[in-house]
């Protein structure tokens, strides 16, 4: 695992992932937020590069401004700090489905080369090895947001050649897949991990490693990927977290 300096109290790989994810929200107006790391990253963005961003949680809170990322997406702080709270029916039908939200943040237990996601089962559906929580809002976030960003750890268990179950569609089976399926959002534009950043190739729609975080090596990413991962010839190194970013992150998590 790459490590930017946990021992010295510097940023960890996890911190780098969160910061990189937060930066992906710069210039976005609205974000549909899942729980866990996406919520931390979204609130970090609100404290740094995207102060006016409107955070929308699937519990029905629109414009939540929690002081700390909540444990659950139904926390009281999300409702109390929201511009408005709507019913579950309304959040999915009026707000998510029509495609009015700029970006959706998703996690996954498995992800394939087209950034299709599995959050349902590992193994056989009817008698699974691991029963995961399931779909939640993800299939429609993946379908309807103008763009989605996936935040996952880069491990061979997650980066698989073939999903055990397709819960949420990324770029399907490649070029033209989303259009054929009638999905109106553009799909995943970025996958952010603890090692770097992957983006779909404009032609093949297959994920390409386009950036590595400081201290991580592209070989690490290739080794931890269950398919032959393409590395961009123009591979960049992620800008390390700034002092301001780290301070804001500490303030959110302390």
């Amino acid at each position: 695992m790459s490590d930017l300096g946990d021992v010295n109290g510097g940023p960890s790989a996890e911190d780098m992932m969160t910061v990189a994810a937060s930066r992906a929200l710069e210039g976005r107006r609205t974000c549909f937020v899942g729980i866990g790391l996406p919520s931390l990253a979204a609130n970090l963005a609100r404290a740094t590069c995207a102060p006016g961003i409107v955070l929308i949680y699937e519990s029905g809170t629109i414009g939540s401004k929690p002081e700390r990322p909540p444990l659950s997406i139904g926390d009281g702080s999300l409702a109390e700090t929201a511009d408005t709270v709507v019913s579950s029916a309304e959040i999915f039908n009026y707000w998510l489905q029509p495609g009015r939200i700029d970006v959706g943040f998703l996690g996954a237990a498995q992800l394939d080369r087209y950034a299709n996601l599995n959050t349902t089962v590992i193994g056989d559906y009817r008698r699974p090895k691991v029963r995961l929580p399931g779909a939640g809002g993800a299939p429609e976030i993946a379908a309807s947001c103008k763009e989605t960003i996936v935040v996952v750890r880069h491990t061979p268990r997650i980066f698989v050649d073939r999903l055990d179950f397709t819960t949420s569609v990324g770029h399907g089976d490649g070029p033209g897949a989303r259009e054929r399926l009638g999905l109106r959002g553009a799909g995943p534009v970025r996958v952010i991990t603890d090692l770097g950043v992957l983006e779909p190739d404009p032609g093949t729609r297959e994920l390409v490693l386009t950036s590595v975080h400081p201290g991580a090596r592209p070989e690490d990413a290739v080794a931890r990927t269950g398919w032959p991962l393409c590395v961009s010839p123009a591979l960049a190194v992620t800008e390390p977290p700034s002092a301001a970013e780290l301070d804001a992150l500490r303030a959110l998590t302390s």
């Binding site: 444990l71 299939p139 819960t167």
Partner: protein, 270 residues
């Protein structure tokens, strides 16, 4: 027409073995006390319905009350898996559990259809996912005007809906606010309904963001202060996040779980 009743009597009348039951709530206002009463009453063969089954469904499943789960996200929010749910699905303990699985958007639209007296609802969803193959209550449907293919989901009309709310008046009008989830739809879609409340008051002061379930669509109202704990009731109680974190360890092991149920549910003062 709402009747004010004690929780054991209300649930004994509202929920029978084999019923489909929705104990709804989106993290907020989860009807823990009612779920415990169902376990104490030894209900069997229930079809449990909920968008976000969490700890109480883990408990009902582990206690052997459920034959089937209809849901869209089953986890301990912010903590991880539901180990009793996993044990039932992965190993059939304490019994086999049928699964009918949707997305949130699909589940909530199923409630909307049920509340609206329609047999189905239409949404943009599921296309390209494997949910279509494993779930019978999802079907394609074509727009009669544009020809566009969309997705239909069948209506949910539970035999009983059980929810927790902040308060009710003596006529049984129920008021709830904060994150309101799909509770109104679940009650309106259900044949029978039980609402536990933090308190019964003489007059329901209007509250910003509050919804009201009129007395004539609610069957039983039970005053159960703290009835959502360790979940919370905005304006009354706080969420006990530690409990949710600790549940992970309690629920991992069958014996630890059974001992917990024995000490915390079966012997709980009624």
């Amino acid at each position: 027409m709402a009747v004010l009743a004690a929780l054991p009597e209300a649930l004994a009348a509202a929920v029978r073995d084999g019923d489909s039951v929705a104990l709804e709530g989106f993290t907020h206002l989860i009807p823990h006390a009612a779920a415990h009463e169902l376990i104490r009453q030894g209900r069997k063969d229930l079809t449990l319905i909920r968008m976000t089954p969490d700890v109480i469904y883990d408990q009902l499943i582990g206690a052997g009350c459920a034959a089937k789960l209809v849901f869209s996200w089953g986890g301990n929010p912010g903590v991880g898996s539901l180990h009793r749910l996993r044990d039932a699905v992965e190993h059939g303990w304490p019994r086999e559990l049928d699964i009918e699985e949707h997305s949130h958007a699909g589940m909530v639209n199923r409630y909307v259809a049920g509340a609206s007296g329609l047999p189905f609802a239409v949404l943009r969803g599921y296309v390209g996912t494997d949910l279509v193959d494993v779930t019978d209550s999802i079907a394609p449907i074509d727009c009669p005007f544009t020809g566009e293919r969309l997705t239909a989901v069948s209506a949910l009309n539970p035999d009983a809906a059980v929810i927790h709310a902040q308060r009710a008046d003596r006529d049984g009008n129920v008021q709830l606010w904060g994150i309101v989830g799909a509770q109104k739809e679940a009650v309106l879609a259900a044949t029978r309904s039980v609402v536990t409340v933090e308190e019964i008051v003489d007059e329901l002061e209007p509250v910003p963001g509050a919804i009201l379930l009129p007395h004539w669509v609610v069957d039983w109202v039970c005053e159960v202060p703290g009835g959502a704990s360790p979940s919370y009731a905005a304006g009354y109680t706080e969420r006990d996040n530690d409990f949710y974190r600790e549940w992970d360890a309690v629920s991992r092991d069958r014996e630890t779980f059974l001992a917990w149920i024995h000490s915390n549910v079966m012997t709980e003062a009624r």
